[in-house]
Symmetry: C2
Subunit: 311 residues, 2 copies
Amino acid sequence: MGLPVGYSINLSNMILALGSVALDTVKTPFAHMKDALGGSGTYFSISASCFTKVALVGVVGTDFPQKYINQLKSKGIDLKGLQIRNGKTFRWGGEYSFDFNNPKTLFTELNVFSSFDPDIPNEFKDYPYLFLGNIDPILQLSVLEKMNKPRLIACDTIRYWIEKSPKELRKVIKKVDIFFLNDSEAREFTGESNLKKAGESILLLGPRFVVIKKGEHGVLLFGKNSMFAAPAFLLENIFDPTGAGDSFAGGFMGYVAQKRTLSDNTMRSAIICGTIMASYCVEGLGVRTLFSLKPKDISKRYNEFKRFTKY
Amino acid sequence: MGLPVGYSINLSNMILALGSVALDTVKTPFAHMKDALGGSGTYFSISASCFTKVALVGVVGTDFPQKYINQLKSKGIDLKGLQIRNGKTFRWGGEYSFDFNNPKTLFTELNVFSSFDPDIPNEFKDYPYLFLGNIDPILQLSVLEKMNKPRLIACDTIRYWIEKSPKELRKVIKKVDIFFLNDSEAREFTGESNLKKAGESILLLGPRFVVIKKGEHGVLLFGKNSMFAAPAFLLENIFDPTGAGDSFAGGFMGYVAQKRTLSDNTMRSAIICGTIMASYCVEGLGVRTLFSLKPKDISKRYNEFKRFTKY
């Protein structure tokens, strides 16, 4: 049930994040980078770490640069759950054209990720906030089962899993509180072109909230008793859209964990925090802008967004 | 200059609207109608008449059904400026596919509209609010010149005039306070794919406000010192998108005229009123839903929209 406004639950505020850690090769009309720090778990964790403490569960190969480990640690991200396996790190290559819509995937090399078996250090099993990044639903389920009843579970997915493992994905969705996906994925998953119908039909599968991300067109939040829409932050320059959705989820979860409440109001403000983090993410190449963010940058843009949307 | 919040000017509240009055043939996946009441001036006037008094300047042929005249009059629309000329009424035919995006134009028969020379009855020349519908910029200019300094002038356009008469269109824009266009038109007109840059570059041409309509993705308002974004009202069922943009402009101008203020706050609420009127418009075939609207329907949906967007 969508909790009524003002209804608060006090929780502690640590997030456990499961996701990919990758070496990204990205081409845009304006820039090019090779083997840069990337992956859904990475973007999520850096973004969420601006709000609260995050532990990241994932896997990299022995080729993963120590400087990236140091960078993640410098954001206070706990890497005791990041396995280092013999072999090469997961690599992804993508190219954006001038419209900065869906990138053309140049290559995907799973490498050590293909045999990833998430191991959750005992100290993380009582973490109250769990984020299941957009990886194989079977791995998402296995992590979920290893945890000691987190109080809030969110998960994200991508088209690949909607098409390959819809049954397993439904099992995950049934057990989570918040489900993130984008507009075209929502349409494909439900077979419903209308986003209101799509969002409401996903709610029937079990989650308390469904968040449909529309990229430059903003976000929709569906709860059992409420809906919420927010436009995107209007930017003059987009440099690299990679990681926007993961940064959104990180800002959202980070804010919710920081507030330690699950009210409808908190969810709405969390949508705005996610929007702000995604807007910063796409203004820089890779994780660059996210990394350098200060709390005052986030509150400055939050206030700009308020002025930009109030009436 | 975007007037500061709370700065008010008292004006009387009559609107003069220039626009097409047409007989529309519309096919959608769910319905079909032939020679129905349509045209940009028609949709605008019906929508605005829910907020204030409107006089419509346009032309129809001798075949224009008396029942449509009676319908427009029943909304209190003053038709002394509607010329009835020998010949046939302007006809437009369009077909929508399931995605309800841009319709395929089946035919356009200008008929009496091809020699339209707008004549403004003297009693209308002192009207304080002027709306120049999306017709030939030369006609928009001629009407503008016949008026006795209206205090607020808004104009709309379509791709056809952006491509055919960009110079004349710029002359009109220079003289208006508010310029409406949709996102693809804004991109084409400015050669700028980024909507923030597009909106700001149109502001430099002279208008105080630029309104960029994004259809199902909402609206952007650009002022000299402020920007505002609103999502669209989320509908479950779209029946016929014809007239959505004109209904939007009608709700916007109707609200501004009713309030008789030109503050930034009024413009923002006017965007929401436009959004509400467009949402009702597309829920019914042709002008059907707009016609039957009661003030309580508008305030009900305005309040729903508030709940849908506040945070």
